[in-house]
Symmetry: C2
Subunit: 224 residues, 2 copies
């Protein structure tokens, strides 16, 4: 399935500017890896040897709190990269990665990727943009977590997710809670209210935004 990989690589923004020969070079550094649903990819604190690109599936990046609560930093799917922080900074992975669904990944060795970057400044600049975007988002979330109430945090989370994924959000209440730093019960209570108000609808494992306008008002802190 090697051709498959080249086709995927060229669609990824950070590699989009590359010539065919360079894509081939990346491809030669790639190791395809398959993980079953719920399998662990790496743990926070592990030595960081690989960085990854998602071919298929869904990967969860998370950290644990001191009382074993899980905080989800992000979910990644087709075409997205993760594990970049550790690889680019020399240190252990700062968070854990787990395959939520059965997933196929491309792994590239840290050293290989680093020398590739040295030879391809344009890709390095793309990486800079990517990191900047992630940093910007992390800072927005910091503001939300530090200063906003649960209702606003949830509203903003749903909006952020739907920017990326569309109106149908494939997450359980549990996962939404772990992403917004609250508990399952509180999330359910809040979303139930919204369901009554026609702002969202939901089935097991999925939530659909039906009235984005109202949700956006809630996210701003004014009431509906």
């Amino acid at each position: 399935m090697k051709t498959d990989i080249a086709e995927l690589l060229i669609k990824i923004p950070i590699f989009a500017s590359l010539e065919e020969a360079e894509i081939k070079e990346i491809e030669s550094l790639s190791h395809e890896k398959v993980f079953a649903a719920n399998a662990n990819i790496f743990w926070e604190g592990d030595a960081a040897d690989w960085f990854y690109i998602v071919i298929d599936g869904k990967v969860k990046i998370s950290k644990l709190t001191s009382n074993a609560r899980e905080i989800v930093l992000s979910f990644f799917s087709r075409g997205e990269i993760f594990g970049e922080v550790a690889v680019l900074e020399n240190g252990p992975y700062p968070a854990s990665a787990q395959a939520v669904d059965a997933s196929r990944l491309i792994g590239i060795r840290k050293a290989d990727f680093w020398s590739f970057l040295l030879k391809h400044p344009a890709v390095a600049l793309k990486i800079i943009s990517l990191l900047s975007g992630r940093l910007r988002e992390a800072q927005n979330r910091l503001r939300d977590l530090a200063g906003e109430r649960v209702e606003q945090r949830l509203a903003r989370l749903l909006l952020r997710l739907s920017d990326k994924l569309g109106a149908i959000l494939p997450f359980t209440r549990q996962e939404l809670s772990d992403m917004s730093g609250t508990t399952t019960e509180t999330t359910i209570r809040t979303l139930s209210q919204w369901k009554d108000q026609g702002i969202i609808s939901s089935v097991r494992g999925k939530t659909t935004i039906t009235d984005e306008k109202k949700l956006r008002k809630l996210a701003e802190g004014r009431d509906s």
Copy 2:
């Protein structure tokens, strides 16, 4: 004071690997700017034309919540850079910057810096490391804010600050609150307890860690 600038530049990690001629090049792109205490440098949402290096003084990076509470993302002093996210990602500044003390800064135009990076991949890689480090720290703070109690958040904040600044922390209770996402009153109550237990001491505008070991235990969540 131009020579002054060259000497500072060469001490900054991201430029440390440069030849004299290249330092000179950066220097030629530099514009020295002076801000009085409490002066605003840029606002969140402003068009991002400049990125900055601190020569002297103290700069606060913050965002506002929907109810006008201020969340401090970081403080920067001599030798540190800020405003990099916007400049490297094409968008407005994601946060506001304000001079806390009277400050001297080097400003470099976005376009100038970007073309410099294209010519100097080694500097680009340094920037990648810097961004990775900031992202890692932001993720740690996310975990703290989402999952830990105020006491632990404050303990970790003090420890993080003292890693960077030493045992004497030049911040008011108000600033510590804004950094840890809590209120002045709660911060005072917590720090007062710690003062009674001999973990810290403080005078107006300054807090000193006197028993780092105990503080570290508090940060872990076990009690003292």
